[in-house]
């Protein structure tokens, strides 16, 4: 398909905004701002806010980057801006 750099950039910014909101919410929100109210609940032996601060937020970060990497691969293909693969792992050769 024809390359559409403008559409690609808009889609990228949208994805980024969503992921960064979650990033902020999970770390600064659950781990810092609301840590005390959340600590009233338990997750196994963890007070919930404490768990988010010292464990959960880090898992969320990993998941966010994973979603980003997968979605960006799709966007690269959909908007026809992907690169010629040189690392041998890109099955999508979508450029015209």
């Amino acid at each position: 398909m024809a390359a559409d750099p403008k559409g690609y950039w808009r889609a990228n910014l949208r994805l980024m905004a969503v992921l960064l909101v979650v990033w902020f919410f999970a770390s600064y929100g659950l781990g810092i701002l609301w840590v005390e109210p959340l600590n009233q609940f338990m997750l196994g032996g963890f007070p919930l806010g404490f768990w988010f601060a010292q464990q959960g937020s880090i898992y969320v970060f990993v998941v966010l980057i994973a979603i980003y990497a997968v979605c960006m691969d799709r966007l690269d293909r959909r908007y026809g801006v992907g690169e010629d693969s040189q690392d041998g792992s890109d099955p999508a050769r979508s450029e015209p």
């Binding site: 781990g31 032996g45 404490f50 010292q54 464990q55 990993v62 690392d87 792992s89 890109d90």
Partner: protein, 564 residues
């Protein structure tokens, strides 16, 4: 075999491995020396980034710090991992697409300004030297404790080994040694952690044991964290899991420090440069993911170790008569990292939140190093920890040396002082500056400036308030101008540096009541970053717009597609 023989064996084996890798991957071009020929696969680069990032501080000091801070230790856990989200989404793929060799070079091209590039190069050199001093010291400490040599002899050994593999192998040598070092350090971290977790909670996975129940002793059947909170209450210390309790940092300060560390992470030159070494923008994104996966293995284990070590420490020592203390206490007592002062003369150790009554002095650094001994693990595990600590310190030191070398030989030498220099001469200069930098770093390790611990706040604060905003604006806006970026960087650095210098050196006794907005010098980089963004955006409105070539550059780096 005793601990020392095991340590010689492990250290000998790992060092030969590092040298072997360096010789196999020696380089002959500047592209090979600076960015490993851009041929590193995403997964390998992720591992190398993990080792590059996790320093002596992460490996040796962090769990111990958290152990004494409880909830507040979150600033390191979130601060030193959350930055990778910013790195992956905002910087890594675009800097890789831009290509070339250094971060400062991007600033120079995007803001068509040699001045911007020089400011960047000087920040790189300053940040990296402050960081490296701690690494060389870490090498010395590990050597002196485990091999019973003088700290300075240890530093010299470390210098020698880094000198060989950084100057011969350049970025390629460093990358593959870092891959090996990651494997060594993560095994060395996880094995004792699993053993301790299993011992205390009956669950070998530390991340789960952390939230499990204590399996034996007076507190059997009780949750580990609940036990820890109770022990703290009995000693008159703030509760371990408590957040905004007296004696801990305030919410606004925790917020600011976490922010400064996250943004600083995303702006550290030795981390950014790692993403230049992969083949493509796509590989840079995946590589950021792998990096955080590998880093989070250690970072989710660390707070568990902190809690286990805390319980062990209190239960092993508090109320125990001095002649009955375990052997590990005496072996660390000789290093001066732990000490007992019998204030009330009853011959028993009293650990207390009240500084007048407290009789136990513990250096935070021993929590990880002594942990296997405290938990009575076999000698080979203790030795493994020594090899892991060395791997963590050496891998970070090597990464830092390389960015110092490329900042001097490429950003200052080639682009400013001697533009007509041939590639062979530049490569020679790069090797030479790397060698000189090793020696300077070693001197920092042998004669540690008293301010080393404090300057880490500097490194992150400066990275957060200088590079990050300039890079993000450079990629995501075309309207930010040369003078906008330069004014932003200078005001960000100027503000952050003045605040840190004032409250760390001029008036170090001042506390949260006089800090602006209650933010400590460690967290002020967050404010400096916001100031940088604000100044850059305002000044850009009133200065001459960037030329068309800059717009083309920005549009080019936003797309992964290769130019043809």
């Amino acid at each position: 075999m005793d601990v020392q023989s095991w340590t010689y064996l492990f250290v000998g084996l790992t060092f030969s491995l590092y040298i072997g890798i360096a010789v196999l991957s020696r380089v002959r071009s500047t592209e090979g020396f600076y960015v490993a020929g851009r041929g590193i696969p995403a997964l390998a680069n992720g591992m190398a980034t993990g080792a590059d990032w996790m320093s002596a501080a992460s490996f040796i000091s962090m769990a111990g710090l958290i152990s004494f801070m409880g909830y507040t230790g979150t600033i390191y856990l979130m601060g030193w991992t959350g930055g990778y989200v910013l790195l992956a989404l905002l910087l890594a793929p675009y800097l890789r697409k831009y290509g070339k060799f250094t971060t400062s070079e991007f600033l120079g091209d995007r803001y068509h300004s040699q001045l911007a590039r020089l400011v960047g190069a000087l920040c790189t050199i300053f940040i990296s030297f402050t960081y490296i001093a701690g690494q060389m010291r870490g090498v010395g400490v590990v050597f002196s404790r485990f091999l019973e040599v003088d700290v300075n002899t240890g530093v010299l050994w470390g210098m020698g080994i880094v000198l060989v593999y950084a100057t011969v192998g350049g970025m390629r040598g460093i990358t593959y040694t870092q891959v090996a070092q990651y494997c060594v350090l993560i095994v060395a971290y996880l094995v004792p952690a699993a053993a301790i977790s299993w011992k205390i909670t009956g669950n070998p996975i530390p991340q789960l044991g952390f939230g499990g129940t204590v399996s034996e002793g007076a507190n059997a059947g009780r949750f580990l964290l609940e036990t820890l909170d109770a022990l703290h209450r009995d000693l008159g210390l703030p509760e371990y899991t408590g957040a905004w309790v007296p004696g801990k940092k305030s919410m606004v300060d925790v917020f600011a420090i976490t922010g400064a560390l996250m943004v600083g992470t995303a702006g550290l030159p030795h981390v950014l440069i790692r993403f230049y070494t992969v083949p493509s923008a796509r590989a840079a994104r995946w590589s950021a993911l792998w990096a955080l996966v590998f880093i989070s293995l250690l970072y989710t284990t660390a707070p568990a170790i902190s809690a286990f070590a805390r319980v062990n420490l209190i239960e092993d020592l508090n109320g125990v008569a001095y002649e009955d203390v375990p052997d590990w206490f005496h072996s660390w007592e000789t290093t001066g990292l732990i000490g007992f002062e019998d204030k009330d003369g009853d011959g028993r150790i009293r650990y207390s939140g009240d500084p007048e009554a407290n009789e136990l002095r513990v250096d935070r650094d021993i929590m990880v190093l002594a942990n296997p001994e405290i938990a009575k693990l076999p000698a080979w595990i203790v030795a493994l920890v020594a090899a892991g600590g060395l791997a963590a310190a050496l891998s970070t030191a090597a990464g830092l040396l390389l960015v110092i070398s490329s900042a001097i030989s490429h950003d200052i030498g080639k682009s400013w002082l001697w533009p007509s220099m041939s590639e062979a001469r530049e490569l020679g200069l790069a090797r030479g500056t790397a060698a000189v930098a090793v020696i300077v770093a070693g001197l920092f390790g042998i004669y540690p400036p008293g301010f080393v611990a404090q300057v880490v706040a500097f490194a992150f604060g400066l990275a957060a308030s200088s590079f990050f905003p300039a890079l993000v604006l450079g990629i995501f806006t075309t309207s930010t101008t040369k003078w906008g970026a330069i004014a932003g960087m200078l005001s960000g650095i100027g503000f952050t540096a003045s605040y840190i210098i004032w409250f760390k050196y001029v008036d170090p006794t001042a506390g949260s009541d006089v800090w602006w907005w209650g933010i400590s010098p460690e967290g002020i980089g967050s404010v400096g970053m916001l100031l940088n963004f604000a100044v850059a955006l305002v000044v850009s409105r009133f200065t001459e717009p960037a030329p068309e070539s800059v717009r083309a550059l920005v549009e080019e780096i936003r797309l992964p597609r290769r130019a043809r």
